[in-house]
């Protein structure tokens, strides 16, 4: 019970900060609208998705939601470094609060905000794109697994890096290739063989596929495999993140 209360306190603080940061919230809503609006509508008459089921607009808008979700989620680690630099983290560490509730509070609040963001964007996209609520719960499972994976990855990174700059750099170096080979922008099936190999090795690919299925009914990979990989990845990284934070928060 105490654990849950602490978790809520940590999350509450994140929400209070998030609410204050209007520019960030606005950016998170405007960027996907601009990208999907210009690139999606621009390329839609030019690009056809083989196998049918959806057009390019449906493809990109679902994929880009995953990208927004992931980049928001990975920001959880970023705030951890900010907290450390601002000294706030030490104030929490000296409180009688378990390390696990601190990390999980961070992770869950990020996930809550990411899921809320995606929900808002889906609502905005619904009238203009082929997105439909095909199996929203399936998409939610994909969202959950991916968020856990990305926030935890961010936390893992944050427990090892001291500077915000290096965090930005490394997070970018890792996530950009993951995004580009995950079927967010174009299908895996039609990729050149080498790229396709990378896509299959990239766990994000399975999350994108599962998420897209829930909102369009289209998928390229076996769904049980998608779900297994996404959930396993989320669980594994979360356990690692909690353990790493616990270990590294003391010298």
């Amino acid at each position: 019970m105490r654990f849950l209360e602490d978790l809520w306190t940590i999350a509450l603080r994140e929400f209070l900060r998030y609410r204050r940061d209007r520019a960030y919230v606005l950016g998170q809503i405007l960027v996907p609208i601009l990208v999907v609006g210009f690139i999606g509508f621009g390329l839609n008459p030019v690009v056809a998705i083989p196998g049918g089921g959806t057009d390019y607009l449906g493809w990109l808008s679902t994929g880009f939601l995953v990208l927004m979700l992931s980049s928001g989620a990975i920001g959880g680690g970023f705030t951890l470094i900010q907290d450390r630099e601002a000294g706030f983290l030490r104030a929490i560490l000296v409180a009688p609060v378990s390390r696990a509730s601190i990390v999980l509070g961070k992770i869950l609040s990020r996930i809550a905000m990411s899921v809320l963001l995606v929900a808002v964007l889906v609502a905005i996209f619904l009238p203009f794109t082929p997105i439909r609520l095909f199996h929203p719960l399936v998409s939610l499972v994909a969202l959950g697994g991916l968020s856990f994976a990305f926030v935890s990855f961010g936390v893992l990174l944050a427990t090892r890096l001291r500077a915000l700059e290096s965090y930005r750099l490394i997070a970018g170096l890792v996530t950009v290739p993951l995004y580009l080979t995950s079927g967010i922008f174009f299908p895996v099936k039609t990729m050149p063989a080498a790229l396709r190999g990378l896509a299959h090795a990239n766990p994000v690919t399975y999350g994108v596929d599962l998420f897209r299925y829930g909102l369009t009914g289209v998928h390229e990979l076996p769904l049980p495999l998608d779900a297994t990989i996404v959930l396993a990845l989320g669980a594994l990284l979360t356990v690692l993140a909690v353990a790493s934070f616990d270990r590294r928060s003391r010298d």
Binding site: R2, E5, D6, T9, L12, R13, L16, R17, R20, D21, D83, R84, A86, G87, F88, L89, R90, A91, I92, L93, V94, A95, P96, V97, T159, F245, R248, S249, R250, D251
Partner: protein, 325 residues
């Protein structure tokens, strides 16, 4: 958990902390009685912050014993954390939240009953009630410090640790913090342990100080006692006809040494202020012109015990070393 029925607020024996091949603490011993205001005094890098971090469970000792209120800081971590308040050397507030929100989050982390009332009480105590709704990033250095102190006290800790509570503040803000600390102590059963490299701060606030140098205690005691241990105060008396005055002054109680340079006799005496009337009586026949009382400062105490001047600093660990994560 603690065998001793009334353990001291802080007990440290042979504490060693090494960071790689840097030794920050080199066999530190401390005994802080309950209810005291105890000062850890030393130059930058002497190991003060490291000691505080270990006592607050933020760092593990390499060797040695450290207890807060009888609870071991490595084994009874949770018990220690629940009973201590800590004001860090560097800012540790959430700058994006308001003063009130900062305290509220803290109150929740400590599961305090009657959260709202306590938060408002603390805001009033440090004179921040009027600014409670503003984000902390708009606060001045002194206001932030006061808020940190309020946060350190919010959960009514038994021991409050303050790491350089007035570092970087101007003299007015510093005096305001001292006043607040005195006010806070009054009427509370609170032990305060503070580190400082301002000698006058230790003198103004502490009933007991430990001089820490290169990771160990060089001297410990009440500031007045430490100063008297140097042989006491010096009373300088300038006279019109000084011949023979030394003999008369030596007979006054408490006098340990008398020297004369020209027409001025320098009398080394314990508790100089109290001895002045007797000294004046003895010197009156010789025609007193001027009297000066010079009290040794903690700086001289430091010099005596470490063999080097205070500001020259110390080798050894970097005092501002932080715990990880």
């Amino acid at each position: 958990m603690s065998a001793d029925p009334s353990p001291p607020a802080v007990l440290v024996r042979g504490l060693v902390k090494r960071y790689g091949d840097v030794t920050a603490l080199d066999g530190l011993d401390l005994h802080v009685p309950r209810g005291a205001c105890f000062g850890l005094l030393g130059p930058n890098g002497a190991g003060k912050t490291t000691a505080i971090h270990i006592l607050c469970t933020l760092a593990n000792p390499t060797q040695g014993l450290a207890r807060v209120l009888g609870y071991d800081v490595t084994r009874d971590r949770a018990a220690v954390r629940a009973r201590l308040g800590l004001v860090f050397q560097e800012a540790s507030l959430d700058r994006e939240l308001s003063a009130r929100e900062n305290l509220d989050i803290h109150a929740r982390l400590y599961h305090l009953p009657d959260r709202r009332r306590r938060v408002e009480e603390m805001l009033a105590l440090v004179d921040l009630a009027a600014d409670a709704g503003r984000p902390v990033r708009h606060f001045s250095g002194g206001m932030k410090r006061r808020l940190e102190i309020a946060r350190g006290l919010l959960h009514a800790p038994d021991v409050l640790f303050l790491d350089e509570p007035t570092l970087g503040l101007d003299i007015r803000a510093r005096r305001a913090i001292w006043d607040h600390l005195r006010k806070i102590r009054a009427g509370r059963d609170l032990t305060i342990v503070l580190t400082t490299h301002y000698l006058e701060e230790a003198d103004a606030l502490c009933d007991e100080v430990a001089i820490i140098d290169r990771g160990r205690i060089a001297a410990c005691g009440a500031p007045e006692a430490l100063k008297s241990a140097l042989g006491g105060d010096v009373v300088a008396i300038a006279m019109d006809r000084p011949e023979g005055a030394e003999m008369a002054l030596r007979r006054v109680e408490g006098v340990s040494r008398v020297t004369r340079e020209g027409d001025t006799a320098r009398v080394t005496v314990a508790e100089g202020a109290r001895r002045i009337p007797a000294l004046l009586d003895a010197a009156r026949p010789f025609g007193i012109r001027e009297v000066h009382l010079h009290r040794p400062s903690l700086e001289e105490v430091f010099l005596r015990h470490t063999g080097h001047a205070f500001e020259s600093g110390a080798a050894g660990g970097d005092g501002s070393r932080e715990g990880a994560a």
